[in-house]
């Protein structure tokens, strides 16, 4: 008999795939806002998968940062640009070919990595850790301090870039 968590896993994984598909190829609507909203749903379902993997902190952050911040930015950009012509645009065959090539390449890389890694139950069980906040904080400050500091520089660069782009007129 399958466990309840397994049912949830397959349910959520199915939802992620469905919403992801609806984000890029929605047969009912070509509205960019609809795509953005389905992306939000994809992100939230992914957070559910993280919970099932015991990555509770990551799940909360996924909702807080991606669904709550990045996607709000996306919505703002869509409304800012007022993308009306996007609804009428047709797919060009060249773009379609390049796009599908990229998808095939990505799936290929993913499959070969997975096959090489052979993620069997026992291999994963040996490294079973709870993704709680305390462990993450300890790891971050004891093992990964340098990447963490570099990340702050990255954020600084992004901040400067944003201001330069939007405040061009100011000296």
């Amino acid at each position: 008999m399958p466990q309840f968590t397994d049912i949830l896993f397959f349910g959520l994984a199915g939802l992620v795939l469905l919403f992801g598909l609806l984000t890029v190829a929605n047969p009912f609507s070509r509205n960019p806002v609809t795509s953005a909203m389905f992306l939000v749903l994809t992100i939230v379902s992914l957070a559910g998968l993280y919970v099932l993997l015991h990555a509770f902190f990551l799940a909360a952050i996924q909702v807080l940062v991606y669904a709550g911040a990045v996607m709000v930015l996306f919505l703002f950009v869509i409304m800012l640009l007022d993308l009306k012509e996007e609804e009428h645009r047709r797919l060009k065959s060249g773009i379609l070919a390049v796009g599908s090539l990229a998808v095939v390449a990505f799936v290929g890389i993913l499959l070969t990595t997975l096959l090489k890694a052979k993620p069997t139950a026992s291999a994963v069980a040996g490294r079973l850790v709870e993704g709680d906040t305390v462990k993450l904080g300890t790891l971050l400050f004891e093992n990964w301090l340098l990447p963490f500091e570099i990340l702050s520089v990255l954020l600084l660069v992004a901040m400067v870039g944003v201001i330069l782009l939007t405040k061009k007129d100011l000296k």
Binding site: M37, I61, V63, G68, A69, T133
Partner: protein
């Protein structure tokens, strides 16, 4: 309680969770209804009026003294309001984007009602913890769900396809995200002191070391003001400032769809009051009374804890309502100025000072 031992632990867990969910849901709904009444009564008293005092069901005349008294208090007003919302015409204009127009109220109300899940509204009743979900990420769950509330407002404005709602929703979402930063930063000193994100642990810390409001007054002030901005209440109610934008993002809504926005606003108020009680005012504990600050197996004391929690929460609700009728509205540039140029540096300094104090004074 004999039959409980025949159930498996999993069934018991689901059963008790369902009971708690329905109890909390019922309490929040009632609290929303009566918060509206209190709002109207308080505004009436502040403005030297009487407020709702004549809604009465037909049987009330048979009660001698108490009947007219309840009517004068307006006890039946929320029921009449709720019924009226249901019976009004639910109009969907033909210029709106129908799907978004319909789901926006639902998206507003669902996160608002889900934020209460992690709040410990009591210690224990018997052996059952009085919290719907005792999550270790605690407050991050709340912040995550609250941040999803923005979509309801953005989509309401976008779906209405009309100028006032659009302007209102853009203003509102920019305001909410601006104050989310200040809110998120203001609570970090609490975790520096308590060493956990779990709200139960934070209450335990406060029971032992004293309330956070005394240790972190700056954090409390920032959180309180940010909570006003997050719930779009005066003095931060620019999204629906009636003199500029009519009703903001719910201008085009009618009937129960409008009521759902209203419910969302009040549910957010309740959730942030509960959060402030939990984070800063010791949750269900009372200082100086040992029996009331430790979990107990006695049902009576368990109920008392719940009572203490709701009393504290009611005080914060009254503060929310009181402020609304006392202060004028901010201008939009002032609002952004407070959020970005005042609160963020203040919260950062607060974090650094707390970290230094913890490091050198070994608090």
């Amino acid at each position: 309680m004999e039959f409980l031992q025949y159930l498996s632990p999993a069934t018991q867990f689901v059963l008790f969770s369902a009971l708690k969910i329905f109890a909390v849901f019922g309490v929040v709904m009632t609290a929303v209804a009566y918060a509206v009444l209190v709002e109207r009564k308080v505004s009436a008293w502040i403005q030297n009026r009487v407020g709702p005092n004549r809604t009465a069901p037909f049987f009330i005349n048979y009660l001698p003294v108490i009947g007219p008294f309840l009517v004068r208090l307006g006890i039946f007003q929320p029921m009449a309001d709720g019924l009226k919302f249901l019976l009004k015409e639910d109009f969907t204009p033909n210029y709106v984007r129908k799907v978004y127009f319909w789901i926006a109220p639902a998206i507003t109300v669902i996160p608002a009602l889900m934020t209460v899940a992690v709040i410990p509204f009591g210690s224990t009743l018997g052996t059952e913890k009085m919290v719907i979900a005792d999550l270790n990420v605690g407050i991050l769950y709340t912040f995550g769900i609250v941040s999803l509330g923005v979509y309801g407002i953005v989509l309401a404005g976008y779906g209405s396809n009309s100028k006032y709602p659009f302007l209102g929703s853009i203003r509102s979402s920019a305001q909410m995200i601006s104050y989310e930063i200040a809110m998120g930063m203001s609570v970090i000193p609490i975790f520096l002191l308590a060493g956990s994100l779990n709200l139960g642990d934070i209450i335990r810390y406060q029971a032992e070391h004293g309330w956070m409001i005394l240790k972190q007054p700056v954090a409390f002030v920032i959180f309180l003001i940010a909570a006003f901005a997050e719930t779009n209440r005066l003095p931060f109610d620019l999204p629906e400032s009636e003199s500029e934008l009519v009703g903001g993002y719910h201008t085009e809504y009618s009937s129960m769809k409008f009521a759902l926005f209203f419910l969302g606003e009040y549910a957010n108020m309740i959730a942030s009051s509960a959060m402030m009680v939990t984070l800063f005012c010791g949750g269900w504990t009372l200082p100086f009374v040992t029996a009331l600050s430790t979990p107990s197996s006695s049902i009576l004391i368990g109920l008392l804890h719940i009572g203490v929690f709701f009393a504290k929460m009611a005080l914060f609700m009254i503060l929310f309502i009181w402020v609304r009728w006392m202060l004028p509205r901010f201008r939009y540039d002032q609002l952004m100025d407070i959020g970005w140029r005042r609160f963020i540096p203040a919260a950062l300094i607060n974090i650094v000072v707390t970290a230094l104090v913890v490091a050198f004074l070994h608090d």
